[in-house]
C-alpha cells in the first residue's frame, strides 16, 4: 500500500515545516503547495495549517485562487484538515478581522474568547472532552495558542470541547473535513491520534 499523498497549503500561515514533519511521522507522503496547480496527481488529502491572522490568511488564499480549489475539494467530499486559523478560515466570519468573509464551509462565526480571570490568548496545554452531561476529560493534553474560537456550531459532528472562559470547539468533523483548534503537530499523543485518523480514508474516521 502506498502512503497517503497529502498536500499542505502554504498560504503564509506559518508552521509548514512542523506540520509536514508531523504528517510524515503519521505515515503520509507530504508536499507543500502555494496554488492549485502544484497539487500533485494522486493527492487524496489537503491540510490548511495554522499560524496566522484570519483576514491575512483569507486574502492570501483568494489571491492564489485557492478559495475556489478548496470549496470544490470540500464539495467533492474529499478529506481536508483545518488547524487553528485553518479551522477558522473555513467558518463564515471572525471577530479577529471584522468584514472579512470566510470560506463558509462551517456556517458559524468565530468570536473573540473573553474569559474573566482567565488569560487571553489561551496559550498552553489543556484537556479536551466529549460533549454531553458527563463531560469527562479525555486522556492526554492538547496544545493551544489562540485568542479566537468557535463557541457554538450548527453543522459539526464528533465534537470535542475545551474550556477557557466557557466551552469552545477543540476538535470536530464536518463531512470529510476534520477541524482542530489545537495544534496536533505539537500535541504529542493527542495530536498523533488525530493526524493518524486524518490520513486514513474518511470512511474509517
Amino acid at each position: 500500500v502506498s502512503a497517503t499523498l497529502v498536500a499542505i497549503v502554504d498560504y503564509g500561515a506559518g508552521n509548514v515545516f512542523s506540520m509536514s514533519t508531523a504528517l510524515s511521522r503519521a505515515g503520509a507522503s507530504v508536499h507543500v503547495v502555494t496554488n492549485a496547480a502544484e497539487v500533485r496527481e494522486g493527492t487524496s488529502h489537503v491540510v490548511l495549517p495554522g499560524v496566522g491572522a484570519f483576514g491575512h490568511c483569507l486574502k492570501r488564499l483568494r489571491t492564489a485562487g485557492l478559495d475556489e480549489f478548496l470549496l470544490d475539494w470540500v464539495g467533492d467530499q474529499r478529506p481536508l484538515l483545518g488547524v487553528c486559523v485553518g479551522l477558522q478560515v473555513l467558518c463564515r466570519a471572525s471577530e479577529e478581522t471584522p468584514g472579512a468573509l470566510g470560506l463558509d464551509v462551517v456556517r458559524s462565526d468565530i468570536v473573540r474568547l473573553s474569559a474573566p480571570g482567565d488569560r487571553i490568548p489561551h496559550v498552553g496545554w489543556n484537556t479536551i472532552r466529549n460533549g454531553g452531561p458527563e463531560a469527562v476529560p479525555l486522556k492526554g493534553f492538547a496544545y493551544f495558542n489562540h485568542s479566537f474560537g468557535l463557541r457554538e456550531h450548527r453543522t459539526l459532528t464528533d465534537v470535542r470541547w475545551c474550556d477557557h472562559g466557557g466551552g469552545f470547539v477543540a476538535e470536530a468533523r464536518h463531512d470529510a473535513v476534520l477541524l482542530a483548534q489545537y495544534h496536533p503537530e505539537k500535541s504529542q499523543s493527542v495530536g498523533e491520534r488525530l493526524l493518524q485518523r486524518f490520513v486514513q480514508d474518511p470512511s474509517a474516521w
Partner: protein, 263 residues
C-alpha cells in the same frame, strides 16, 4: 483548565572547535559570564523527554552570533527531532525573518528590547500572524527608584521605569510577556515574585517569568505567589541534579496544575 507551563530556554551561539564553528547551547549569569552546555538538537531532545511544555530558543548577539540562515537550519534540526511548541527570537529584524522562523518550526516570535523600541515588528507580526504569535521579551534590573527596563548588550542601558515600558506594550498587540530579572539571571536564588506580582496584575496576557530559578519550590512560588502563567529558565535545566518529574510532582502535589506525564 489550562496547565501552568515550565519552559526551558536555550540560548544558542557559535563556538569554535578545531577551526570550525558549531552552534552550542549556553547559559549566562546576568546576561554575561557564558557557560557552554551542549549541542542544541541533542539538548532539545533531552528537554523534550523531560516533559518541557515548550521551548524558548534565542539566538545570542555579539561576536559569537550565529548567522540568521544557519540559525534557521538549526531550528529545522530541532523541530525535526522534537515536536515541542517553540518560541524563537534573538535579533529578529523584519517580518521576512519572522516568517522564515515560523516556516522552520517556530510557533511564536520572541521580540526583545531593540525590536520593541525601534521597529513596528510587534504590529506587523500581529497583523499577519495574529497577536498570539508575539512574545514580548522585557528585561529589568532593580534600582533605588524601582525596577528599570533595560536593553543593549549585557542589558546595562536603562530604557525607563518597568511599569511605563509595559503600559504601552499591552495595547500594541502582544500575545505573551516574557519577563526576566537580569540581576537574578543564572543566580539560582529564586524568581522576583514581588515585581512579577505587580506586573501580572497590570497586564492581560499570559506572563512567562524568568531569572533566578534554582529549585522546584522557586517554580511553585512563581505560580502560587506571583500567579505566573509560565516560568522559564536556562541554568536550572542545565544542572544535572534536577529531576523534572520529581519537580513537577512536587508542584502538582501542592495543588498547581502542571503536566506530570508524557501521555
Amino acid at each position: 483548565m489550562v496547565m501552568r507551563r515550565i519552559i526551558p530556554v536555550m540560548l544558542v551561539e557559535h563556538h569554535e572547535m578545531r577551526g570550525q564553528l558549531f552552534p552550542v547551547v549556553v547559559t549566562t549569569r546576568a546576561f554575561t559570564d557564558v557557560t557552554r552546555i551542549g549541542d542544541p538538537a541533542s539538548t532539545a531532545r533531552v528537554l523534550a523527554s523531560q516533559l518541557a511544555d515548550e521551548l524558548i530558543v534565542i539566538r545570542r548577539g555579539g561576536d559569537g552570533s550565529i548567522p540568521f540562515l544557519e540559525f534557521v537550519e538549526l531550528l529545522k534540526r530541532i523541530a525535526a527531532e522534537t515536536s515541542m511548541p517553540m518560541s524563537v527570537g534573538g535579533g529578529v529584524r523584519n517580518i521576512e525573518e519572522a516568517h522564515a522562523l515560523l516556516r522552520s518550526g517556530a510557533d511564536k516570535i520572541v521580540l526583545g528590547p531593540t525590536a520593541l523600541q525601534e521597529t513596528h515588528l510587534v504590529e506587523e507580526v500581529a497583523e499577519r500572524f495574529g497577536r498570539q504569535c508575539v512574545v514580548a521579551a522585557i528585561d529589568f534590573r532593580g534600582s533605588p527608584d524601582g525596577p528599570l527596563a533595560v536593553g543593549g548588550e549585557g542589558r546595562t542601558a536603562a530604557l525607563g521605569p518597568l511599569g511605563k515600558v509595559l503600559s504601552g506594550l499591552d495595547r500594541r498587540g502582544i500575545g505573551e510577556l516574557f519577563l526576566t530579572d537580569v540581576d537574578r539571571d543564572g543566580s539560582g536564588r529564586g524568581f522576583n515574585v514581588d515585581v512579577a506580582k505587580q506586573v501580572r496584575d497590570a497586564i492581560s496576557v499570559p506572563l512567562i517569568l524568568a531569572g533566578g530559578c534554582g529549585r522546584a519550590d522557586h517554580i511553585l512560588d512563581a505560580f502560587q505567589r506571583a500567579d505566573a502563567d509560565a516560568v522559564a529558565a536556562g541554568t536550572y535545566f542545565a544542572s544535572r541534579d534536577q529531576n523534572q518529574f520529581q519537580a513537577r510532582a512536587l508542584i502538582a502535589n501542592a495543588g498547581v496544575l502542571v503536566r506530570t506525564s508524557l501521555v
